[in-house]
């Protein structure tokens, strides 16, 4: 029987070694993969290559959901000696009683549109379940109004084998030639609510796979898993509309999320395919609320996309690399929507994998000599993705596109805790001062 290890054991195992010992996956080697040719936009493969060096660790984290709820034992604090009555104060005689009260926000008058992804047999599709996004009447997790739908996580699959860090291969090696098997693993092992299939091989600078051949991969994924799927192109603005239109055709009736329509490509072609073949559209803009309004307006007015088929991606910047703009952009969008701006009342999606672009998430050590030690990077990466995603969850984001299984598990744990569906044994914190930590 295999010996079970804790993360701490692994840490200890590594503790005595030179950090370079983990360099079977040196970034030098990995980062200079053929990334320049991967097309525009964030490359989630880079995230994979950089981030998942420690997949074994991740599997331990996957158990995180069950980590609460055990009885907690703490040594009782020694009884405090009685306070000398001499200390009793003249100025503080009686405890005043008070009533705390605070009003709900009256300006939050408008509900965010509910947008379903995935059709079950009831709607003419073959998905085992539907994912529902949106429907909020307040900021996320606020007491003003119950939040109707929890956050959802979609995990990436790619349509070709590309260079991956060794530790990522430990996770995915046996499934990387089969997008279907890869998708299955994300659902069965890593608890993905959805799958995103990235058709990156269609980029003319990579394999220039035809739209027709790429569509076969979409069919394969739809066969392999019964969760709803998102379909991404390569990021090439010339080719993506054609690729997404063909993918939409072969997945007719499944209500997939087509990613993405943007102002710098033929968004009308993507919108048209979504309407014709029963899909949703991801409306992507770059940290610009007015551009987001413009694109949403064009999708609705020019292309006649119904409101319940639009999801927004207002762009995710990583912690330390512009998250302040991404956070505030989303928070402003959501507040404007709640107050009635009907060009913004849509659920939001985040490319949370962008967190792996932050050097803190993947570099062995700081490039700047004066920094305190950055510690082991295999633990830095997942938490960078978690904090990036969690911040945006609090700003109003609904759907998270993620990579690292640990990040997925922890993000789900905290968002579902704040959503109110996580049961845990109550913890007595009264004696935190004397607790053994």
């Amino acid at each position: 029987m295999a010996k079970k290890m804790k993360l701490s054991d692994i840490t200890n195992m590594f503790a005595g070694m030179d950090v370079e010992a983990l360099e079977g996956v040196t970034i030098e080697g990995d980062i200079e993969l053929d990334l320049g040719g991967l097309g525009g936009g964030f490359d989630p493969m880079l995230a994979a290559a950089l981030g998942q060096e420690s997949a074994v660790l991740a599997q331990h984290f996957a158990r995180i959901a069950s980590m609460f709820g055990y009885p907690v034992g703490f040594g009782a604090q020694a009884a405090a000696p009685a306070v000398s009555p001499a200390l009793a104060a003249p100025k503080l005689k009686d405890l005043i009683s008070a009533k705390f009260d605070v009003a709900n926000i009256a300006e939050w008058t408008t509900q965010i549109q509910e947008v379903p992804i995935g059709n079950t047999s009831a709607d003419g599709g073959s998905r085992g379940k539907q994912v529902m996004l949106g429907g909020e009447k307040a900021l996320p997790f606020y007491f003003d109004a119950p939040m109707p739908n929890r956050n959802q996580v979609t995990i990436d699959v790619f349509d070709m084998r590309i260079g991956l860090a060794k530790a990522v291969k430990e996770n995915y090696d046996e499934v990387m030639d089969s997008p279907g098997e890869w998708a299955k693993k994300n659902v069965e092992k890593f608890n993905a609510d959805m799958i995103t299939i990235h058709l990156i091989s269609t980029d003319p600078l990579i394999k220039d796979t035809s739209a027709k051949d790429a569509a076969k991969t979409v069919e394969e994924v739809l066969q392999a898993v019964d969760v709803p799927i998102a379909i991404g192109g390569s990021g090439n603005p010339q080719k993506d509309p054609e690729v997404l239109a063909k993918a939409a055709e072969v997945s007719e009736g499944e209500r997939c999320l087509l990613a993405s329509a943007s102002l710098n490509l033929d968004y009308a072609k993507i919108a048209e395919a979504a309407l014709k073949y029963d899909h949703d559209v991801l409306s992507w803009t770059q940290l610009d609320m007015n551009a987001q309004k413009e694109l949403n307006r064009k999708l609705m007015k020019q292309c006649n996309v119904p409101r319940d088929r639009i999801i927004m991606d207002p762009t995710t910047a990583a912690l330390g690399y512009g998250l302040d703009y991404a956070y505030t952009n989303m928070e402003r969008i959501r507040l404007a929507a709640l107050m009635g701006d009907d060009e913004l009342t849509f659920p939001m999606s985040s490319g949370t994998t962008n967190a792996w672009g932050a050097r803190e998430s993947w570099m062995v050590s700081s490039p700047l000599g004066q920094d305190s030690d950055w510690g082991p990077r295999e633990y830095r990466g997942p938490i960078w993705e978690i904090v990036t995603g969690l911040s945006l969850a609090l700003a109003g984001n609904d759907l998270f596109m993620m990579m690292h299984p640990t990040s997925v598990a922890v993000l789900k744990q905290i968002t579902q805790t704040l959503f109110g569906i996580v049961e845990a044994e109550p913890v007595d914190i009264a004696n935190w001062i004397g607790a053994e930590v």
Binding site: F68, L87, D94, P237, S372
Partner: protein
């Protein structure tokens, strides 16, 4: 603050446009008061002349932030908390970044205690032109022994960081105060059992104090009100921080409610809020990495939603780095520009043989690249291409960074690779690699693809510079 237009503040100013504050007019100064970039004390006549005394007092009252500002510690590392006027950062900005205090226990071995305190004091993370730091030390009276606690306080005080004294036992707190009389520590905490004694200590030693009532906002407000009426001004609220399940959700709700009430004018509860992410370590998470992650997750939630000060345990870099970065993220002034001016910048004193790089004019990108280059002593030309303040990767994807834009930037800067350099070479960001061919055609120069991350420029230069012709 109670007013929101410069005109309203102007009414209380001398209206002489004397210019002593550095502004050309009193109206300009009034604008600075309203956006909180100036203080009434910057106006000498208002402060000095007796006839303005009443106006000054009234103006100060009107301008006071909704949430009381409390100072912990003394000297240059003193920590200010609270002082906020808004619920969302884009409405103005948040003031006084969430302060991160890390715990030590008074029953630790002295060597271990000193080592940990030094680690807290020495922590440094460089970030666009400044260092992110940890803020202070929370001393837990785990021994519940006044003498032991006093000894620990004495040791910790040597580091010069702000301190929180953690005990519900007034005798222990008093022992600590006696050995740190002028250090202005924060007392944690007064609760329903010890409030008289702890309140008296706060008055006697003139130190800020936490009032602590778990999950009962009526009682919390009552205790705060009791203290305020006894003349205690520097109050911090601890509504309790539960680490999991419904308890954590309740905690989140309490923070939202308290801050909303305070900003909306309930002065009796308009104080800074303390979060205790350290309780993550009481949630029964056996594995320390997972517990540490959970602590960081809790710290993140309460950095964003209204925690002004927190007590944390994990000093692992994978906890501290995201924590200090998130506090910086949320408290960065959103009114500062996203971008630097496009143009050619010199790093050191470059000449015709120095390498030429470009990046975008997104401020974070530019400063990151600039500090990576200069910190490693590389002398070069650095062109900031105007991409509407968007980073390299996103700008390539979004069409704001094209070969034409780069050419345009060179022309505007009056810099010609063919005549201003001997090598006629441009090094481009690895994330813009797909522009290489286009750029060679457009610029008629050699184009080399640099690393994906500017942190790797030094290694890249070593291998690839000067270019082989």
């Amino acid at each position: 603050m109670k007013i929101n237009s410069p005109l309203e503040a102007y009414k209380y100013l001398p209206q002489t446009n004397c210019g002593e504050c550095g502004e050309p007019t009193c109206m300009a100064f009034a604008s600075k008061l309203i956006d909180r970039s100036g203080k009434t004390s910057d106006c000498p006549p208002l402060v000095k002349e007796k006839k303005f005394a009443k106006k000054l007092a009234e103006l100060d009252r009107l301008l006071a932030p909704e949430i009381r500002q409390v100072t912990i510690g003394v000297g240059e590392r003193a920590a200010n908390i609270g002082g906020d006027d808004v619920l969302y950062r884009h409405k103005l900005t948040f003031f006084n970044k969430t302060k991160m205090f890390f715990d030590v226990a008074d029953n630790m071995e002295e060597a271990a205690l000193v080592e940990r305190v030094n680690k807290i004091a020495d922590f440094k993370k460089f970030y666009v032109g400044r260092n992110l730091l940890l803020d202070g030390v929370a001393i837990r009276a785990a021994s519940n022994d006044p003498a032991k606690f006093a000894a620990a306080v004495k040791k910790v005080a040597e580091a010069g960081l702000p301190m929180i004294f953690c005990s519900f036992n007034p005798a222990v707190l008093k022992a600590g105060l006696e050995v740190a009389k002028d250090k202005n520590p924060l007392l944690y905490a007064a609760n329903k059992d010890n409030w008289k004694e702890v309140g008296e200590l706060a008055l006697e030693y003139k130190v800020p104090v936490v009032v602590s009532v778990f999950n009962d906002l009526d009682a919390l407000k009552g205790l705060a009100k009791t203290f305020a009426e006894a003349g205690i001004k520097d109050i911090v609220l601890d509504p309790g921080t539960y680490p999991s399940g419904k308890g954590l959700k309740d905690t989140f709700t309490n923070f939202l409610k308290v801050r909303r009430a305070g900003i909306m004018g309930d002065t009796e509860i308009a104080y800074p809020i303390m979060a205790l992410p350290l309780t993550a370590w009481m949630a029964g998470i056996a594995d320390p990495v997972s517990a540490s992650y959970w602590e960081t997750v809790m710290a993140s939630v309460f950095t964003i939603r209204y925690g002004d000060i927190m007590i944390l345990h994990s000093m692992e870099p994978y906890s501290t780095l995201p924590e200090v970065h998130l506090a910086e993220t949320i408290y960065t002034d959103p009114r500062t520009p996203v971008s630097v001016d496009g143009g050619m910048y010199k790093v050191g004193n470059p000449d015709k043989d120095s390498p030429v790089f470009f990046t975008t004019n997104f401020a974070l990108t530019y400063y990151t690249v600039e500090s990576d280059i200069s910190a490693n002593g590389i002398v070069c030309w650095l062109l900031a291409v105007d991409t509407d303040g968007i980073g390299v990767e996103a700008a390539v994807a979004g069409g704001q960074l094209t070969s034409a834009k780069v050419k345009d930037a060179f022309e505007k800067a009056g810099f010609d690779l063919k005549t201003d350099t001997n090598h006629k070479t441009l090094i481009i960001p690895g994330l813009a690699a797909r522009l290489q061919g286009d750029l060679e055609d457009t610029l008629g120069a050699n184009v080399k693809v640099g690393p994906m991350d500017s942190g790797r420029i030094p290694g890249w230069i070593e291998k690839n510079w000067p270019p082989k012709q």
